[in-house]
Amino acid sequence: MMPDLPDIPILALIFAGLMGASILAYVLLDGYDLGVGMLMPAADAREQNRMVNSIGPFWDANETWLVLGVGILLVAFPVAHGVILQGLYLPVAAMLVGLMLRGVAFEFRLKAEGWHRELWNWLFWFGSFLASFAQGVMLGRYITGFASGFGYWLFAALVGAALCGGYVLLGATWLIARTEGALQKKALAWTRWGLAWVAFGVALVSAATPLVSETVRHKWFNFPDTLWLMALPAATLAAGVRLWFHANEKSFQEKNLWRPYGYAAAIFVLAFAGLAYSIFPWIVIDRIGLWQAAHPSALRVVLWGALVVLPFIIAYNVFAYRVFAGKAKENLYD
């Protein structure tokens, strides 16, 4: 039997849900533009322009979901905010530097010429890679409760590599929908590569989390719950298999444009759900629970704001995606 845990106030639950949704939105959205950044070296110069242009109007808003996610962590769970960000100090710093380099490289590469342009292309790739890898390391460190030791860091590095694969997958499937011709064909091939990495990563994290924490093991290997919980990996596998067959030059059809991205997103959502199930009701496994939330007065005032403003945010994000729908062109400033 597990020891009894304190009750979780409904407000804290709501904020945990909002934070989860925000982080998931970040991963699905910034994931594809980071992935496109990492795929840059695999394309030629003209393709690179189209790739960057396909994410040009979106990357900034996509990153804002990260700020919202960490903002909710800060507002709703200030104790965990301090513990997590101090525990992740170095990977966070690396991620931030990566995000900075790629964010400005975006602007600079458009304006630079000659070897300057080459340098910013390289920094765009490197920044995308560094940020993605660091985020994976953060995930790896987080699920092992920031445990020290070579093995744990190696594990975190592997998760980092796997998340790079995952973002490459999202980026490649995004490019399938947003490009045409030879570049689209390349994107189909990239999708399969990304998928292989994701399979490795999901397996790795799934195997490691129960080993690290008894709490997590108990939740997954606890008959008869285990039986219906197996639906989660089964669905993930099914999405992966479907994606593998869709990401094929012969079977791919333009009318199913968004299906590859949809399946890739489904894999991420399912993996995210599994992780959320593992960790709940903790926010730092076995150390800080969701009940250690901020004062209700602070939560209420933010909740009201969020309820009023979030529908607008979603609406104008959807609007922006509609404005910039269609295949990416080579010239960004039309």
Binding site: T64, L73, P78, Y89, A93, V104, I313, V323
Partner: protein, 442 residues
Amino acid sequence: MDGSDALLLARAQFGLNIAFHILFPTLTIGLAWILVYFRVQYARTGEAAWLATFRLWTKVFALTFAMGVVSGITMSFQFGTNWPGYMGKVGNIAGPLLAYEVLTAFFLEATFLGVMLFGMSRVPPWLHLASTVLVAFGTTVSAFWILALNSWMQTPAGHVIQDGVLIAGDWWAVIFNPSFPYRLAHMMLASFLTAAFVVAGLSAWRLLKARSDAPALRTLRTGMVVAAVLAPLQALVGDLHGLNTLEHQPAKIAAMEALWKTQTGMALVLVAIPNEKEKRNDYEVAVPSLGSYILKHDFEAEVKGLEAFADHPPVAPLFFAFRAMVGMGVLMILLSWFSVYVLFIKNETPRALLWILSAFTFAGWVATLCGWLVTEIGRQPWLVTGILRTQDAVGHVGAAQLGASFTLYLLAYVLMFVAYMVVLTHLAGKGESSMTQASSKS
């Protein structure tokens, strides 16, 4: 490593980041509204030249905005990595204010920036104009929330203490705390002045290369008119802000003026080297009674010196930074008036003036940074005046990690800043002409 080293490193790192960050919003808040002006002019006249002007300055804006976004994301993390005690103690107040900034400003700016930059041929003209206004509105809303929080840290109000942490008793009082209106007005004006001098300075740079560039002359005039109107207003608002500080944070004023002892008919120190050890000024040059007149509008009034306060901020940085800010402000007033006289009344554009204006391109940055140094160092040793000391908020990250990340940040900032300057100079040198060519090509 002992506690004070960790504190110093954490402060240095956060200070580096926040100082780097503030440069870019300072420019974009004002520039966004100048862009609205350019966009409206294009809508009104339909002139291709206004469109080229708008395009050139949206590029400068986009570049600056990206620098602000990425360094701002860094800050949202450094609150947790460097100052965990801050969120623990006042998170119930700071958290919601920051959350409102993200919700009401960040998404708005980021999304409509995309439409403003890339959507001109994809949306109807009115919607493009509306997007430009929404971007500007977003930057101003962002300033509103962040200055509400900063002002609350300077002059806290509206809170109650429960179980050792602060919660808001009255949000209206928290947001509209005593120093907020002054600080917001001061910062907004600083932002407009910074943008005005950047627009004028880069236009002057272009005119040095191509004397007949009419759109560049037009933006030069725009910048100097804005500056000539707002610079004196800024002096007035700055004075009011100072009086407000004297009321709520008198130790900060005493340090700014290097006033060690309480005086009636306080002298205004013009030049000195504050001597922290002996608690006096070396090589002082002062005007009798003028200090009392400026601070209390009465030549005989008493002003409290540093001796009257148990805690006070370090004197020399405040004394010098304040003088640098005021000095730069005075130069900006004189230069903008002189420029308006030469440009409009004498109707000339002498090369010497163009050189001077180019040199003053980033005058607003210098003044703004000095101003922030004054107000932030002036709050020490407190992080939140009277409530939380900076040393009690610092985290427990090791020196190696702090040192490594500090180096990483510094390298990234230097690289980004150099690149920013190179691109800006390049864009300005080519001027609007490149924009018309680019648009006729596509």
